[in-house]
Amino acid sequence: MSKQKITGKAFVLGRNIDTDQIIPAEHLVYSLDDPEERKFYGRYALSGVPDEQSGLPKGNIPLVEEDAFESDFNIIVGGPNFGCGSSREHAPASLDIAGVEAIIAPTFARIFYRNSVDGGFVIPYESLENLSQEVETGDKLEIDPERQTVTNTTQNKSYNIRPLGSVADIVNAGGIFEFARKEGMIDVKN
């Protein structure tokens, strides 16, 4: 999983994007198990971001168009402290359900990072620079985990990302359960 390249369109946000902005608390009532209800997490992903800060640098771009359930953008580029706030796993889950595959940010809040990895939702890549000031929403990006680079093919620029380090095994396995099963740590079904 982490070894595969991810290509797609960038959606850019600022610093301190907290979990209430990622999925406002009023929407946490839908069942993640019910396929029909689950879709609403995609619809409301990032709906709490103030309009002018949604889809930088221009703003006023929603991640998911009104009445849609999935996004055309599959890579989020954020500023420092992405995912701060609550422990709600619905946050990385909602981004996953909306079609987001990876997030690139200089730093992540601890619980969000962990939830992204342990639940196998989205891959959180730490960048060496704050790319939210370099990339524009809609730019085409290519993440190459093996070379540890992200290339902006629209602007023809390349940047370095940090290796996943000790969580790479969990990311590669697809989540903490898959990892534990592979390691023979737990005797669970599947």
Binding site: N16, D18, D20, Q21, P24, A25, E26, L28, V29, Y30, S31, L32, D33, E37, G48, V49, P50, P80, N81, C84, G85, S86, S87, R88, E89, H90, P92, T107, A109, R110, I111, R114, N115, D118, G119, S166, G175, I176, F177, A180, M185, I186, V188, K189, N190
Partner: protein, 437 residues
Amino acid sequence: MGMTLTEKILAKHSGASSVEPGESVWVDVDVLMTHDVCGPPSISIFRDQFGEDARVWDKDKLVIIPDHYIFTNDKYANRNVDILRAFAADQDLPHFYDVGSESYKGVCHIALPEEGFTRPGEVLFGTDSHTCTAGAFGQFATGIGNTDAAFIMGTGQLWVKVPETMRFEFNGTSMPPYLMAKDIILKIIGDIGVDGATYRTMEFGGPGISCMSMEDRMTLTNMVIEAGGKNGVVEPDTKTEAYVRERTNKDFEAVYSDPDAEYHSTYQYNLEEMVPMVAKPHSPDNKATAIELEGTKLDRAYIGSCTGGKLSDFKAAAEIITGHDLKIDTYVVPATTEIARGLKTETLNGRPLIEIFKEAGCKIGNASCAACLGGPSDTFGRLNNQEVCISTTNRNYPGRMGSKDSAVYLASPYTVAASAVTGKITDPRVFIQETVI
């Protein structure tokens, strides 16, 4: 090399003689807490991964406390409580605090200590970021997601990266009469930033700690997550011991940081020099002193939540509110049913606190999280428009208490109460001096 309190707890629970910051260890869990928002998906993952008939690893160690969306007509929110109810019955769980029952408690982070689950030296995980509150009792306590909670339900274990520890020392031997723990933690978060403690422990100590009540300490550790902290911790002392012993018969073994423990950094604060603080919209580190913001017009005041809805918070607010008419809508929400009872029994100048609040025109809610985090549109006290609110809660990111057009200032119960009296942000020293003299 010595170890910090947090390192010692993680070493002990992973079967190691010592651990170092940065290493990942698997720890045995003493208590897992979940609530109505994250409980149902955690239960679902548990069943999916361990089987429909799987039993939780230790039913005495799983605590389920519905508190977030309780008093709402939202059918999905109510369904969440039904799922918890069915799971507790199916698994025969002894520690389920059901809505509408005698045992209903309210906000999980205050209910856990009240029911004796916050024991020094132990490991507590909870599916809520403010689980770090329990560090006030010298426990390792941190928030996790649904997948991690499901993993614990099945195995009783979880991996943890050992955090570095930041030390915050308080000098001074008494709290000035106008100062509350909320002022102190807002100052610290403002100083280090909302990511200033990311992946780290915030350890609070020094002579000033001993003059703080357990409730003060809980306010400090509650908000370490607002600086990105993994956990917050206060070394146990006689106050800790007395509080915990009063509420549980279970054995526990307190641990303490070694004198030669290695810290990431150390900060010093003199309690006697500290002043009432406010966090401006839209971030908990957007600090100002109350004086700097004096005169800022407000629409609403809110006193409640895990960080601002304890009995000591209401006693403080009542000291200021008593005998005054309020200029703005003011919401009072006790964190737990025990605190709600306390509002009736606790008195100020011979009058129950609840009477003081009612006479001043406060709207009193049921014990729960209520509007601290927005919630369904009919949630008590929720901000549904462009209101500007001053609140004792712990988070003020855009839209936190409801509408993303609203704005929230965070402050101590003293400052919120003083501001409710004038309708504008007001330094509480104006009123405290009246009271003291």
